[in-house]
Amino acid sequence: MPKELTYEDIEIGMELLPLVKETSSRMSAEWAGASGDYDPIHYDNEYARLRRFPSAIVNGRLKVAWLIQMMTNWIGDEGVLRKLGCQHRGVDIIGQPVKCKGRVTKKYVHDGEHLVECEIWTENPKGEKTAPGEATVVLPSRTSRK
């Protein structure tokens, strides 16, 4: 694990370490098994076309799980993910990579907690934000270790 991130390391506008995921129908099947969501729209191209998508699409909840993973990777063992949300504005097609990205928008201390807010999103190969959102984390501080 990399050096622990602390509140003092944070600067507004700072970019988060991106997380890039290759997608495949196998991965879609594994997610169906792990999540219990067997909607064929995520692995059956013909069915996805009946639902008016170009082909099978990446499960939105899997993209949320990846955004969460990007956050927990970034904050390290002593950081805490407090809040995360996103909107599914576009679809990601199975077979194309999904990039999770983010940047810091705000840092502040509230009730003794050192909080950092980030804008986060998933991006398709065209550079379009398919799932824009926000996340809030609590980081350890060098001045008041929790």
Binding site: E30, A34, L50, V64, L84, H88, K146
Partner: protein, 168 residues
């Protein structure tokens, strides 16, 4: 495009209702499936020896795992109109808050409420939005997380629903 509202009286009546309650003991085998499916190899979630050195003192359940714990349909005894089923609905997104860490072996009680319903016209047809809220409690009755999320149903001529029924 259909100009009439697709929201039925039955659907309106369901707003505010508790749809289901799922009680799940968190098994390590399920966490393993989750981390394999997501490719999340963070040792904090799987390696007990490693995680013992963290200030938490043991492995945590990945926060993302919690968001998968609400996919089940209606539980017996709860009213669940077909239109609120997650089958055939599109996930529009959501927001989750995490209040405290969850450990493998914890028993998590998840309840799902239907909190809002509205309609919009889109390019593909009428879109019905359903908003749900999920509360996660542990075996001590403490709220560990909350979620609020929206699904969309696109109802347009020619589109087939999940069960293969064609929408006229």
């Amino acid at each position: 495009m259909n100009e009439e509202s697709l929201i039925t009286e039955e659907m309106r009546k369901a707003v505010g209702g508790l749809l289901n309650i799922c009680i799940t003991k968190i098994e390590r085998s399920k966490i393993k499936m989750f981390v394999e499916a997501t490719g999340d190899l963070n040792p904090l979630f799987q390696d007990e020896e490693y995680a013992r050195k963290s200030s938490y003192g043991g492995t945590k359940v990945p926060p993302g795992y919690l968001i998968t714990m609400q996919m089940e349909g209606g539980s017996p005894g709860f009213y669940m109109p077909d239109q609120l089923s997650l089958k055939g609905a599109i996930d529009a997104g959501g927001e989750w808050e995490f209040f405290q860490a969850v450990r493998p072996g914890d028993v998590i009680i998840v309840d799902r409420k239907h909190v809002d319903l509205y309609e919009k016209k889109g390019k593909l047809g009428n879109m019905v939005f359903n908003v749900f809220e999920t509360t996660y409690r542990n075996q001590r009755g403490e709220i560990v997380a909350k979620g609020r999320w929206t699904t969309i149903r696109i109802l347009a001529p020619g589109v087939k629903d999940y069960e293969g029924r064609k929408i006229e």
